[in-house]
């Protein structure tokens, strides 16, 4: 006879909580850069400066400790005669005060030096990661003007190989592959080295006569049966709400965006603007069409941006109010553009959520926490051929779907999946579950918007391009 002998005692030890499992899963799936890291991009200080500062602080801590040691010797000296005079005991006490205080201050300085080193490391890691997003390839001599097609084919072959290596179809270039291919394509045909920004600006100006940047908005009532009007209390909810704004969701007509106005229990008013991405054709009345992409990519005030600002005013917000923005794809670029415009107009914009947006060419307001969520296999964030605008107010969440253990992520083989809102909803849930400090800091900018007890009024608007 085999098997257990005697009573079977159940294991009552508590297993890991669902929250800790989710946080561990998020840590495995997400690579996070940011959270007070800063960057040479917008702070004009090098990591060498910060490391030098750390070394100097550390040296000062040593000097402080040495001063404390000398005071200690004095204290020992005083202790042998302190009982003989009226000032002896007091001077001995003070000498020991110096010893202990100097040691304590030295420890504080050491801590400061260590934090500076960590900050410098954070800068370097983020800048390295950001630099890695732009993929440089070999350029044979005389590519321009003699062998453009050969070079374009070479770049395309590399991008295709990279796509396959990341579990994508050969034509479904990754973020890095897309940026590289666009840059090399432009180089092969024009000789421009980093031409994406220039060409985007050129195209934006070129389409303007056919696509005005002016827009008219009208208030609309969404199709309640299609859902998408739930109160938003987390990032997943935000991305879900973005998905509900695409016409194919059947909730709202093309060119629509959503504005939530929250009133907290203490009367504080705040808002959330939710903007979907590209819809429809190149030319048309829908301001979210393809023609708006180049202008938005270089930070221009597109028809969508103008429509959104009109919507903010129509929703009763005034300068001084707090408004956050969230957008997907083109909506992400518009979110950053509108954030700048609102801050210039006196509004407070503590947070922007960029979902799969090529926002590398647009600087966000200095006091705005930008949370940029990207899939490495998503070609769209690479369309600007620029690393995320790494700064201390940007938290960049990168998810390599091809390395995921999630069945949904593993089933993604082209941009309909890697750039799709459904996949980003899945990633947003990981962001919510993450206990990463940088993510937590970035999400703190959304506290007012995610307040479940706030009284929320939701407005929907449809913007139409004026011709």
């Amino acid at each position: 006879m085999s098997g257990p002998v005697g009573p079977v005692i159940p294991d009552w030890s508590p297993g890991p909580s669902s929250e800790s499992v989710a946080a561990a899963n998020a840590a495995n799936e997400l690579t996070v850069y940011g959270g007070g890291i800063g960057s040479t991009v917008d702070i004009e200080v090098s990591t060498e400066d910060i490391r030098a500062c750390a070394s100097q602080i550390s040296a000062l801590a040593s000097r402080l400790r040495h001063a404390g040691s000398r005071a200690r010797v004095c204290a020992y000296g005083l202790s042998s005669t302190a009982h003989l005079t009226s000032f002896g005991a007091l001077s001995l006490d003070r000498a020991w005060d110096v010893v202990h205080s100097a040691d304590s201050r030295a420890a504080s300085l050491d801590d400061l030096a260590e934090r500076l080193q960590v900050a410098a490391q954070g800068y370097e890691d983020s800048e390295d990661a950001a630099a890695a997003v732009t993929w440089r390839i070999f350029r044979a001599p005389f590519v321009f003007p003699f062998f453009p097609l050969v070079h374009i084919q070479f770049a395309a072959a590399l991008a295709a190989a990279d796509a396959v290596a990341h579990g994508q179809e050969p034509w479904a270039f990754t973020r890095e592959g897309t940026g590289m291919f666009l840059r090399e394509y432009i180089y092969a045909l024009t000789g421009m080295d980093d031409g994406v920004e220039n060409i985007a600006a050129l195209v934006a100006a070129g389409v303007l006569p056919y696509n005005s940047n002016r827009a008219t908005i009208r208030s609309i009532v969404p199709n309640a049966m299609a859902g998408g009007a739930e109160q938003i209390t987390d990032t997943e909810g935000l991305v879900n709400a973005i998905g509900a704004l695409y016409p194919e969701a059947g909730n709202v007509p093309p060119g629509s965006f959503r504005i939530d106005r929250m009133v907290a229990a203490d009367g504080q008013v705040s808002g959330t603007v939710i903007i979907p991405g590209t819809q429809d054709d190149i030319v048309g009345f829908n301001p979210n069409n393809w023609a708006s992409n180049p202008g938005a990519m270089v930070g221009g005030m597109t028809a969508v941006a103008n429509g959104v600002i009109a919507g903010v005013i129509a929703s009763g917000f005034k300068p001084g109010d707090t408004i956050n923005l969230a957008g997907h794809s083109q909506g992400a670029m518009v979110s950053v553009v509108v954030a700048n415009a609102l801050v210039d107009a006196g509004y407070k914009v503590p947070g922007v959520l960029s979902v799969g947006g090529p926002i590398g060419l647009i600087s966000a307001p200095a006091a705005t926490e930008v949370l940029a969520v990207e899939h490495r296999e998503d070609p769209v964030p690479g369309a600007d051929d620029a690393p995320p605008p790494v700064s201390e107010n940007l938290t960049w969440v990168d998810r390599p779907l091809s390395e995921s253990t999630d069945p949904l992520a593993m089933s993604v083989h082209d941009p309909t999946g890697s750039h799709g809102v459904d996949m980003y909803v899945n990633t947003a849930a990981l962001v919510d579950a993450s206990d990463n400090d940088a993510i937590q800091d970035a999400l703190a900018a959304w506290d007012a918007q995610f307040d479940p007890d706030a009284e929320v009024t939701t407005f929907y608007y449809q913007a139409t391009r004026d011709f």
Binding site: I57, V98, S101, L109, E392, N393
Partner: protein
């Protein structure tokens, strides 16, 4: 003896350290992180300045102690030997 002089020297050192800490964080480093570090550095400077003040007081008291001790020794020098 001589502790007062050493403590004065310690106080001078602490003053120099405080000034150096105040100017350690690069002035051209701006933004939230820089402000946080600058705040910490300013707080550390205040703390070290306080220690400097204590050291000065310790030096002053030690000086008084040494003068008094000298007087005690002088007074006792004519009498029986004392373990001073």
């Amino acid at each position: 003896m001589g502790q007062a002089m050493v403590l004065r020297s310690v106080a001078d050192d602490l003053e120099e350290v405080a000034v150096s800490v105040r100017s350690a964080v690069p002035a051209h480093w701006t933004g939230d992180a820089a402000q946080n570090f600058q705040r910490t550095a300013t707080s550390a400077t205040s703390g070290i300045t306080a220690v400097h003040a204590i050291a000065q007081e310790a030096a002053r008291l030690a000086q008084q102690h040494e003068w008094e001790l000298t007087a005690v020794r002088a007074a006792l020098s004519s009498g029986a030997p004392m373990p001073v």
